[in-house]
């Protein structure tokens, strides 16, 4: 797919990502539906499958999942340059897309976090700050377990997809009770999945 992006379009992309940055409570992935609307439906800078595979690839690769944003930027730039076959011009645009997308999504949120966390640390003896940390502790724990639950449930029902659920439960027990390296578990999961066992 080939698109044309003017400077104003690039600026609009930057502004859009910057505005989503401060809404991304719980991670950049929570803004994915909004981005899909903008990039695929409104502007048609990306195809549906480019959007989905950006998320899938970032999840499969090591590192924070926010890197799917970098891939979205990559694909927007690549499309604007006429695709991979179009030569260096397209590659440069793709890299520019990565830069714009990552700066847009990270700059506002990291600035806020930096300032807020520094303030919180300097005032860690304040009753309000201690109350915040103590009060949030059980909710944060529940959120982690719920995230695991939601990920597991995305496989489908435990009856139809019992193999996947079993893998989840066994992994949880191994992490909880042993010091087995997590890469072994992820590798096993990837192999079992690639061979079609799940």
């Amino acid at each position: 797919m080939t698109t044309v992006l003017s400077s104003a379009d690039w600026l609009a992309l930057l502004v859009h990502f910057m505005s989503l940055s401060l809404l991304a409570i719980g991670g950049a992935i929570t803004t994915a539906p909004e981005m899909h609307n903008y990039l695929v439906n409104d502007k048609a800078w990306l195809t549906d499958s480019q959007f989905t595979s950006s998320i899938a690839l970032a999840q499969a690769a090591p590192g924070p999942n926010v890197l799917f944003i970098a891939l979205l930027g990559w694909n927007v730039g690549m499309n604007a340059g006429g695709g991979m076959a179009a030569g260096p011009h397209a590659w440069w645009l793709a890299l520019a897309g990565v830069g714009i997308a990552m700066v847009g999504i990270l700059l506002p949120s990291t600035t806020l976090t930096f300032a807020a966390a520094r303030w919180g640390h300097q005032n860690r003896e304040l009753r309000a700050v201690r109350a915040f940390k103590q009060g949030m502790a059980p909710i944060v724990i529940a959120l982690l377990i719920a995230t695991g639950w939601i990920l597991a449930a995305s496989q489908g029902s435990p009856v139809d997809h019992w193999r996947g659920w079993l893998l989840t439960v066994v992994t949880a027990l191994l992490v909880w009770r042993t010091r087995l390296h997590m890469l072994w578990m992820l590798g096993t999961g990837a192999v079992l999945g690639a061979l079609g066992f799940l």
Partner: protein, 206 residues
């Protein structure tokens, strides 16, 4: 800061390891990020709390609460906070760069080389398998942190109540995260504030 508090902090600092330099931060966070397939959180907890012992379980939980409630990618926020604590702004940048640089290069190379492969059945299957494992990793990280609630000012019963309520709201009812953090979280913070009203006598005092 009162003397007793300072004392306990000094002991904690002495009994604990910390990053040696900004390079140490960069390298450590790079390693963490490169091991984190399908999310980095589980590996962060294991490496920083259990192996390197830069943070106690309680401190990790507190930092994670802050990283979670502020917008932006949680692990990115967390690396920023930890880096800043030890080496200021440059430390924050070092940790942030560690978290992002190598993974960014890898993901772009993958996109350039295997752009079309992500849609094949085998790749989709592998992703499903890693997704199932990632679910277990994250859930277990949460389970391991439950022990940190024992010293919570709100008491264990209230903590369990809040945790169950939040789990049902987020995991089962799928309410938007913001509501739960503001609603249940806000209530919990007010309650914790109230519980702190009566100053506890220091441990070991007559």
């Amino acid at each position: 800061m009162n003397p007793a508090k300072q004392d306990s902090q000094t002991t904690r600092l002495l009994s604990r390891k910390q990053p040696q330099s900004k390079t140490d931060l960069f390298v450590s966070f790079s390693k963490l990020a490169l091991q984190g397939f399908g999310g980095v959180l589980a590996i962060v907890q294991r490496e920083l709390v259990e192996k390197k012992q830069w943070l106690t379980r309680e401190e990790f939980l507190e930092d994670w609460a802050v990283a979670q409630i502020l917008p932006g990618p949680n692990v990115v926020n967390l690396s920023l906070m930890i880096g800043d604590r030890y080496f200021g702004f440059r430390g924050a940048l070092a940790a942030l760069a560690g978290m992002l640089t190598f993974p960014l290069v890898i993901v772009l190379v993958l996109a350039a080389v295997f752009g079309g492969v992500a849609d094949t059945p085998a790749a989709q299957g592998a992703l499903r398998g890693m997704g199932a494992v990632a679910a277990g990793l994250i859930a277990a990280t949460g389970i391991k942190l439950i022990g940190a609630l024992q010293r919570n000012v709100m008491g264990l019963t209230v903590c369990w109540g809040l945790a169950v309520l939040s789990f049902v709201a987020i995991g089962l009812l799928r309410w938007p995260l913001v509501w739960v953090l503001l609603g249940v979280g806000g209530m919990a913070c007010l309650w914790a504030y109230r519980c702190m009203e009566v100053p506890q006598p220091p441990e070991g005092a007559p």
